[in-house]
Structures are given as structure tokens and as C-alpha cells.
């Protein structure tokens, strides 16, 4: 975020200006302009600040507090257990496998969607028939609710369902699996569905980034006799760097919080093979009323996201801020 501190703000209401308020004609100078400005700021900021405090800050602090208690959400919260909830989560196989699943999804989402998204964006970034239509179509899955997309995919992936039928039809019948029923396969099935759902976002963002690459560069490269691949590798991808890195960050954060799609497709099953931190949290919290324990899981989810975000910031995004500052 750019903070051009000095250039932006107007100076405080100039004292020399006739400080007539809109209503009366009388020169009201009862409030000094400094006070007046304070009141105005208060007027503008307080609704948002109040909403933010009540529904964001307080619940987050509460999560930290609850996490230290053994509490079922009813009755007094008086069973202080210190860090026991955290110890329990970190030594619970289901939670640790949930973390592994989230990390797998973080990594594979980027590894799969980056080349695919880049390829499609490069493909669409040329004069071709129906390009506008293509751009709209590719973005459709992203706009659908995860729940809606999940329900449709749930149908598609049923044993002997449409996906199997299509594979049969093209001679790949041998590859059919219990897509959502086999613990060794289910996580990858979820990943494929997520790729379908979110590839459009990558494509749209990359396309926007590509518009920022000046045509002159391409023309110069062409004059120098560069091949298509050379141009993409030496010009397009490097110039797209900031866009790609920011997209990677969004993708990572989304993967760490994954809930809806998994809840619809598998509820974390079979045999916890697709459980994520968020599904585990809900499962333990509202479904089993272990609010203290679930809060500890939430804090861990936040801590893991924060650590990964910080690592990403230091090792990946730093290049951007350095260049721009």
C-alpha cells in the first residue's frame, strides 16, 4: 500500500475561511477548528470502528482466551487448563494430518495452477476469435459458490457417475477410482476440483498483469529474432513476477482456510484423509461443543497462516517491495 503521506491530505480547515456551518448564518465559532475536526473524524470513523471492534477484534481476543479453558459453551468458563488444549491439538494425529493436508494443498495448488494459469493466460493474450467469450467463461467457476460447485462435483464424482462414464468413453476406464471414497485418492480429487474452481482467478489476474507488459518489448524482441518461447521466458514471465507472487499469496491464504469445498465433498473423510484445519475446527467446536479446544485449533490455524505469510513475505514478496521502494 502506498502511503504518500504528505501529498494527500488537505490541510485542516483553514482558520481564515469563513467557518460558517451549513445550517445557520451566524458565524459560529464556538468550536475551535481543531475540536471540530476531531468530532468530524469521530463521526466518520466510529461506525466502522465500532463494528470492527465488536465483530472482529473482540471475537479474536476471545478465541485466545477460550483456548485456555476446557469449556463446552454453556455455563461458566472456569476450568482453566493453560496450554493443555494446544498440547492436545499438536499431539492429535488428526490435527497434524489436517495440517499436512493444508500444506499439501498450499503447495500443489500453486505448483499445478501456476503453469496452467500462465499457459492459458498467454494463450488468451492474443488476437483470437472469441477471446472475450473465453475470458468470461474461464472465470465462471470462480464466481459460483463453493457449495454449489461442490454439490455438482459430488454428483459428477459418484461411482459409475459422469466422470467415470467420460473416462470410459475415451478409453481411460481403467483409471476410474472411488474418487471421494478412497482415502488414498480423495485429497487429490478435492485438489482437482479446487483447481477447476480457482484456475480462473489465476488466469484473470495474469491476464491483467500481461496488459501491463509494453508491446514495444515484444516488438523489440521480435526484431532481434527471439523465438516465442524465448520471449515468454525472458520478457513475459519476469515482468509478470509481481502479479504471480501476489496471486501465490492469495492462493496460499485461501488453501490454509479451506473449508466449504471439503465439507461438501467429503466432510473430511474418508478416514480423515481430507480433513483440513478448518473442518477439524468445526468438527471439534460446534459439532462436539468443545469450544475451548476448538478455539485453540483456531489460534493454531492463525499462527500457522501468519508464520507462512511471514515466510512468504520475507522470501518471495520482499523482492517486490524492494524494487518499488
Amino acid at each position: 500500500m502506498s502511503v504518500a503521506d504528505d501529498a494527500l491530505a488537505t490541510r485542516p480547515v483553514p482558520d481564515s475561511a469563513p467557518a460558517r456551518s451549513g445550517t445557520g448564518g451566524a458565524p459560529r465559532r464556538r468550536l475551535s477548528s481543531a475540536w471540530r475536526q476531531r468530532l468530524e473524524i469521530l463521526f466518520f470513523v466510529s461506525p466502522a470502528l465500532a463494528l470492527f471492534a465488536v465483530f472482529v477484534v473482540v471475537p479474536i481476543l476471545q478465541a485466545g482466551r477460550y483456548s485456555l479453558y476446557d469449556w463446552n459453551g454453556l455455563g461458566p468458563m472456569d476450568d482453566f487448563v493453560g496450554l493443555q488444549n494446544y498440547v492436545r491439538a499438536l499431539s492429535d494425529d488428526v490435527f497434524t494430518s489436517a495440517v499436512q493436508h493444508n500444506l499439501t494443498i498450499v503447495v500443489l495448488s500453486i505448483v499445478v495452477q501456476l503453469p496452467l494459469g500462465l499457459g492459458i493466460a498467454l494463450l488468451l493474450n492474443r488476437q483470437m476469435w472469441g477471446r472475450t467469450f473465453l475470458r468470461v467463461v474461464i472465470f465462471v467457476p470462480y464466481v459460483l459458490a463453493e457449495v454449489v460447485a461442490g454439490v455438482v462435483w459430488f454428483m459428477l464424482l459418484q461411482p459409475d457417475g459422469p466422470v467415470d462414464a467420460v473416462l470410459d468413453a475415451v478409453g481411460l476406464g481403467g483409471f476410474t477410482q472411488l474418487w471421494l471414497g478412497d482415502p488414498d485418492v480423495a485429497l487429490y480429487t478435492v485438489l482437482v476440483v479446487l483447481t477447476w474452481k480457482y484456475l480462473g482467478l489465476a488466469v484473470i489476474l495474469f491476464l491483467a498483469g500481461l496488459q501491463g507488459v509494453p508491446d514495444e518489448l515484444y516488438e523489440a524482441a521480435q526484431i532481434d529474432g527471439a523465438s516465442w518461447w524465448q520471449v515468454q521466458r525472458r520478457i513475459t514471465v519476469p515482468l509478470l513476477g509481481p502479479t504471480i507472487r501476489t496471486w501465490g499469496f492469495l492462493s496460499m491464504i485461501g488453501s490454509l482456510q479451506l473449508f466449504d469445498m471439503v465439507w461438501i465433498l467429503t466432510k473430511g473423510g474418508p478416514a480423515n484423509s481430507t480433513v483440513t484445519m478448518a473442518t477439524y475446527l468445526i468438527n471439534q467446536g460446534t459439532d462436539r461443543s468443545q469450544y475451548g479446544y476448538a478455539s485453540a485449533v483456531a489460534v493454531l490455524l492463525f499462527a500457522i497462516s501468519l508464520i507462512l505469510a511471514a515466510i512468504y513475505q520475507v522470501f518471495v514478496l520482499r523482492r517486490d517491495t524492494k524494487v518499488s521502494s
Partner: protein
């Protein structure tokens, strides 16, 4: 359509788009027309839309048709799946609930967001950057992290099964992004406007209402669209807060319907298709805004 100021590249049409230049050599490397390119594009489109088409067409088939041939065209076309959904109260109630919650969320975010962004952008006061930082830090905290206390708080405030119980927390969690997008937008409006208005005797609040608000229309629409889509598609918070069937939203309705009528595949597909339509129409109508908003967010 005016282009928002926030994302310079976002609205600007690419040099190659639009009125096609007379015989200008298309930026060489990007010359299209290769059959392979069209073949790949076709595959991408097919994979992208196949699930949606399957749902739409599946809604026009009977369960017997779906069972005997998982992939195929309706033969004959069956309308009853769709008419059943459209004549049921529940579908319309879910749609209404989704609409009201999304509209309330959007309205609260837009009004509170632009109000807060105004002094953060155009007043100079001590603690301004700190205040902005408080809101931006909110970006780090997804709703998921606070979901348990939120759920309990909403319950204690007796807001469960009400629109407010979903809309207010959603609006609160959408505020950081809204302010992060709107602040540079408001900063970019020329300072002279404000000086002229003040010289003419307009108060700062009058300036906000009469000049700033109309001018920031595109920015507000962008954040509004983002908030609306997020609310329309939301699942986790409504899942916990709305248990009463009369208060549920479309995503909850789709999930419920699909598990309650698991054997009625055609009915589920019809229901799901109809639930998709509002989002698709909304998207097609506001595609530019959504895309601009997302790009703006990325740049934020």
C-alpha cells in the same frame, strides 16, 4: 463506463483490443490463428463449463435417464424438476434470505467503509496511520479464526437465525479490504476540489455528501460487488448461525437439499442450477467490476 482510479492497468483496454487497428502488424509474438491454439482453448472451455452444463441439462432429465446414462442429453426433456423447485416455498425463501443478507452486508460495508476511508484519506491527524494499520491488520484474520467466539456471541446477542447475525459479522470482516481499496481511491481525488468547496463555505461533511460520495461511485461499486458476492456465496458463518429452515440462505439450502434428497439426483441438479443462476447473472452483468475489484485488491 468510467474506470476506477485505483488500479491503473485494470480498466485500461489492452492496446490490441477494441477497434482493430487497420492492418497493423499484431504484436508479432501474439499472432493467433493457430489451429492448435483453438484446440487448446476448446478443451479449456469444455472442462470449465462441462460441470455447469451437466447440472443444467441434468435438471431436465429424469432420474431413470441419469441412472441409465450418466452423460447424455435429456430425452425426453423433463420440466418437472425445475417446476417443482420453482413452485416450492423453500427455494424462494432461501433466495430471499440470501438476497436480504447480501444487501444488508453490502450496504453496511459500503456506508461504514467509505465513511471511515474518508478521514483516513483526506484528513491529517495524529494516529491516522495507526488507525489505518488497525484496519489493515484485520486482513490477517479470516473469519474462520474467530468463528467459535462469533458463533457464541451471536447466540448470546440472540441474533442467531436473524439477518443481522450473519450480515454484521460479514460486514465487519469485509471492512479491512474495503478500506484498503477505498482509501487510495479517495486520496486520488484532486485536492483542489476540496479547497474550492471549502472556500465556497461547504463544511467538510457537506463536501463528503455532495462531492466526494458521488465521485467515489466506481470505488464504492467495486467494494460493494466484492462484499455482495462474498456474502452470496458464504457458507461457514450461515451454517453455524442459521439453523432455522426459515432463515437459511441458498448455499445452506443447496447443501441441505442435496443431502435430504440424495436419491433424487435430477431434483438436486435442478435445485443447484437454479441456485447458480442469480450468481451467474450478477457476474455477467458486473464482470468488469468484479475483475477490477479483484485486481485492485491484489494491488492493495
Amino acid at each position: 463506463m468510467s474506470t476506477p482510479v485505483l488500479a491503473p492497468t485494470a480498466g485500461a483496454p489492452s492496446t490490441t483490443r477494441g477497434g482493430r487497428p487497420p492492418r497493423r502488424r499484431r504484436s508479432g509474438v501474439n499472432a493467433g490463428g493457430n489451429p492448435l491454439v483453438y484446440a487448446i482453448a476448446l478443451v479449456v472451455v469444455a472442462v470449465t463449463v462441462a460441470p455447469v452444463v451437466y447440472a443444467v441439462l441434468g435438471g431436465f432429465r429424469s432420474n431413470a435417464q441419469l441412472a441409465s446414462e450418466p452423460v447424455g442429453l435429456p430425452d425426453p426433456w423433463v420440466l418437472s424438476n425445475y417446476t417443482n423447485v420453482l413452485t416450492s416455498d423453500t427455494f424462494w425463501r432461501y433466495a430471499l434470505n440470501s438476497s436480504v443478507i447480501a444487501l444488508v452486508t453490502t450496504a453496511v460495508v459500503a456506508v461504514f467503509g467509505v465513511m471511515a476511508a474518508y478521514p483516513l484519506a483526506r484528513y491529517r491527524f495524529r494516529g491516522r496511520e495507526a488507525l489505518f494499520l488497525v484496519f489493515t491488520l484485520g486482513l490477517l484474520f479470516p473469519l474462520t479464526v474467530a468463528i467459535i467466539p462469533l458463533f457464541l456471541m451471536v447466540r448470546d446477542l440472540q441474533l442467531n437465525n436473524t439477518f443481522w447475525g450473519v450480515a454484521l459479522p460479514q460486514a465487519a470482516f469485509a471492512l479491512p479490504m474495503t478500506i484498503v481499496i477505498l482509501r487510495p481511491f479517495l486520496m486520488a481525488l484532486p485536492k483542489e476540489l476540496e479547497e474550492a468547496a471549502l472556500l465556497d463555505g461547504t463544511s467538510r461533511i457537506g463536501f463528503f455528501w455532495r462531492i466526494l460520495l458521488p465521485l467515489s461511485g466506481p470505488g464504492i461499486v467495486t467494494v460493494g460487488v466484492l462484499a455482495f458476492v462474498a456474502s452470496w456465496n458464504a457458507y461457514l458463518l450461515p451454517l453455524l448461525v442459521l439453523n432455522d429452515p426459515g432463515a437459511k440462505t441458498l448455499p445452506l439450502g443447496v447443501a441441505d437439499f442435496s443431502s435430504e434428497h440424495a436419491s433424487d439426483t435430477a431434483g438436486v441438479l435442478a435445485f443447484t442450477t437454479l441456485a447458480m443462476i442469480p450468481a451467474l447473472i450478477f457476474f455477467l452483468a458486473l464482470e468488469k467490476r468484479i475483475v477490477n475489484g479483484l485486481q485492485g485488491a491484489v494491488k492493495g
